[in-house]
């Protein structure tokens, strides 16, 4: 058994069930002609969110010509390596392949979501019970704030909705955010009327017109340093009410800032930087919804942060700013989160933690994860809506990122 098998995601948000339902529908469209059936199957994979490369169908049909069609495993392997072009695509392929190509009815698997305890009578469930731990944190949280909306996926088999919000407004704020991060002075300098130093080279060149007599002294100022950014966005159930804002903001940052990587996480991490950069918002969010474990569920910040750092640490530099969007609910041990936060802090110049509850009246972090992480955070700021986002950018404009050499 491989490590990957053990960590295979369960049916969070009912996405897996939806894929299987699509596969059964697609199976009804089979014609019995291999080439056409392969095309239908490729369409099914695309509907489920997989990237099936152009020309893959023709390639798959060619592949079927060189494998024995009476050996199901060989047909599966041949179609798998031609139609799937990455690991999530291959997982999806493995999920829907038996349903589409087999005559027998395949029952949806019993999942952890099915086995989870029934919701409370009012239709809500505290995070702690959803996550299976953290009972000590549930009481003060429930007292201070409205109980977070229950994950639809946990109880009704559908995904947490990613609503449309004003994208243009968030786009403009993302541009301001990128500019605010770039306000920190860099090492390079350029001529500026109100610069702090005399630019001797430019002055000499400028005064050549007057016989190299230094009549005008030009000045120079540091060019703003282009900050690199990594974004970690919590999309677990407890964050459902701000997930649309966070994802829209993360997507806008991917377009307007120098983003190294973006990770969205709940109990597992999904790297989305490339997708967010390459796809328009609606398509990117559709892609995200199609991932098995990308939305809703519990939260393992320490575990996901470790995965994230394993993936991006070599690309982090002293110019990198880490933006964490999370309320700090974590079912992992706080020691793991602290260790990973130390790792993150060593690697970047600034850690900005945006918490949707930070501005609540009388708020003090009581969540284990956040309590553990806060000493290692440079800025703990509210991000509960567009006004809070504007305030956050104001704060960043006032306090440029200090130059820090990671240990």
């Amino acid at each position: 058994m491989s490590a990957g098998d053990l960590r295979r995601p369960v049916d969070r948000g009912g996405v897996r069930t939806a894929h299987l339902a699509r596969a059964r529908e697609a199976r009804a469209r089979r014609t019995g002609r291999p080439a056409q059936d392969v095309a239908v199957f490729a369409g099914l994979l695309r509907d489920c969110g997989a990237t099936v490369p152009g020309g893959a169908v023709a390639r798959a049909v060619r592949a079927l010509g060189v494998v024995p069609l009476d050996r199901a495993a060989d047909v599966r392997d041949a179609l798998g390596c031609t139609l799937a072009s990455d690991r999530p695509g291959r997982r999806l392929f493995d999920l829907v392949f038996p349903v589409f190509w087999n005559a027998a009815e395949v029952q949806p698997p019993v999942t952890a979501a099915d086995a989870s305890p029934a919701p409370a009578a009012d239709g809500t469930t505290a995070d702690a019970s959803r996550d299976g731990s953290g009972l000590d944190e549930a009481a003060p949280r429930a007292r201070d704030r409205p109980t977070p909306r229950a994950s639809y996926g946990r109880h009704h088999g559908g995904p947490v909705p990613v609503d449309e919000i004003d994208g243009r407004q968030v786009d403009a704020l993302a541009r301001r955010f990128a500019a605010a991060l770039a306000r920190a002075p860099g090492r390079r300098r350029r001529t500026a009327a109100a610069g702090d130093l005399v630019d001797l080279r430019s002055s000499l060149r400028h005064n050549l017109r007057t016989g190299a007599e230094l009549l005008v002294l030009l000045r120079s100022a540091p060019t703003p340093r282009r900050a690199r950014l990594v974004v970690l966005c919590d999309v677990s159930s407890s964050m459902a009410h701000v997930t649309p804002l966070f994802l829209t903001f993360a997507h806008a940052l991917a377009r307007h800032a120098k983003v190294v990587e973006i990770g969205v996480f709940n109990v597992e991490l999904t790297l989305v930087g490339d997708v967010f950069r390459g796809l328009p918002r609606s398509a990117a969010l559709r892609w995200l919804r199609a991932q098995d474990s990308a939305l809703a569920g519990g939260t393992r910040i320490g575990h996901c942060l470790r995965r994230f750092l394993d993936a991006v640490e070599p690309r982090l530099t002293r110019d990198t700013v880490a933006l964490v969007l999370s309320d700090g609910w974590d079912v992992d041990e706080p020691e793991l989160l602290v260790a990973q936060m130390r790792r993150l802090r060593r690697a970047v110049s600034r850690v900005v933690w945006c918490d949707p509850h930070a501005a609540a009246t009388g708020y003090a972090p009581e969540v284990r994860g956040l309590r553990a992480a806060l000493p290692l955070v440079d800025d703990h700021l509210d991000l509960s809506g567009p006004p809070a986002l504007r305030a956050l950018i104001d704060h960043l404009e006032r306090t440029p990122t200090p130059r820090r050499i990671p240990a």
């Binding site: 491989s2 490590a3 990237t51 490369p53 060189v66 495993a73 392997d77 990455d86 695509g89 470790r306």
Partner: protein, 291 residues
């Protein structure tokens, strides 16, 4: 395909059927193979074994950040070109003929990609290994596209050089950054997982013939449990082989003391060692029946 798997096994590489199928299709359809997987699962060894099994010459290009066309494809031999110009000047024969001569294949330094499609002095077929492609920059991926799709490269001064015999191309990546869709769609894709217990035992027995059967089985079980844990750098196959070799050297038994003493063969990260020596290691040893 069975013959290919057997030929790979004869070189010491134990391939499972899906991998054999991908390599078979790559040969039959003349398509490159993109292998992804965790570090240490034997991606690079696939190309080495494939070359040995098919009697081909292995041309390897190790990718790294900053890898450019003149490292990977070709470069003009500037020193010899200058020398030729000086000689021509001395002889008074500078002209169009010289211009044509100094940009001929005589002054071309072939780098691995060009060498793979247009070998100069070797008739054997070629297996081209482009290793750890994700370490190279995205610009380099673009450079590869022409080669992967048309098996040709273009040298502006010479024109297009097309493969005389199409090489088998194996690309490996560790997913440290996403590869472009353009590259992926030109390749057959295969995810190389960690081997299951039985296959890992076969691999170890192939690499270390004569090892104690019970030791190999128990050690492989323990490694499998480690991989299922939350370790930063899960042990790969080569770590398993090294560890069993080390255990054999120090007595050929598996007990908690020896596991601790030889742990550096398996776990190569300080945090992981600390984690194992804490409660997690005791659990793993208990489950594996070692402690």
């Amino acid at each position: 395909m069975a013959e290919l798997v057997s030929a790979l096994a004869a070189t010491g590489y134990v391939a499972d059927r899906p991998l054999g199928m991908v390599l078979h299709l790559a040969g039959a359809l003349e398509l490159p193979v993109l292998l992804e997987g965790e570090p240490g699962v034997g991606k690079t060894s696939v190309a080495e074994a494939l070359a040995e099994a098919t009697g081909a010459r292995l041309v390897r290009l190790q990718c790294y950040e900053g890898l450019a066309a003149h490292h990977a494809l070709y470069e003009w031999d500037y020193a010899r070109q200058l020398l030729a110009i000086r000689v021509a000047e001395a002889r008074g024969t500078v002209g169009e003929e010289l211009q044509r001569t100094i940009f001929s294949e005589e002054f071309l330094l072939r780098r691995p990609l060009l060498e793979a499609i247009s070998p100069t002095d070797d008739d054997r077929p070629v297996v081209l290994l482009v290793d750890e492609l994700d370490r190279a920059d995205e610009e380099f991926e673009a450079l590869l596209l022409e080669l992967l799709a048309q098996f040709q490269v273009t040298v502006p001064e010479l024109g297009t050089i097309t493969a005389t015999r199409r090489p088998r191309i194996v690309l490996t990546a560790n997913r440290t950054r996403p590869l472009s869709d353009a590259l992926r769609r030109r390749c057959l894709y295969h995810w190389l997982p960690y081997p299951d217990l039985q296959r890992e035992i076969e691999i170890v027995e192939a690499r270390l013939p004569g090892s104690a059967e019970d030791l190999v089985r128990r050690a492989c079980e323990l490694v499998g449990r480690l991989r299922a844990g939350e370790y930063r750098k899960a042990p790969g196959i080569s770590e398993t082989v090294d560890w069993i070799r080390a255990l054999t050297l120090v007595g050929g038994v598996l007990d908690d003391g020896l596991v601790d003493e030889t742990l550096g063969c398996l776990l190569k990260d300080g945090d992981d060692l600390e984690r194992f020596r804490g409660s997690d290691g005791r659990r793993v040893l208990r489950e594996a029946g070692v402690a």
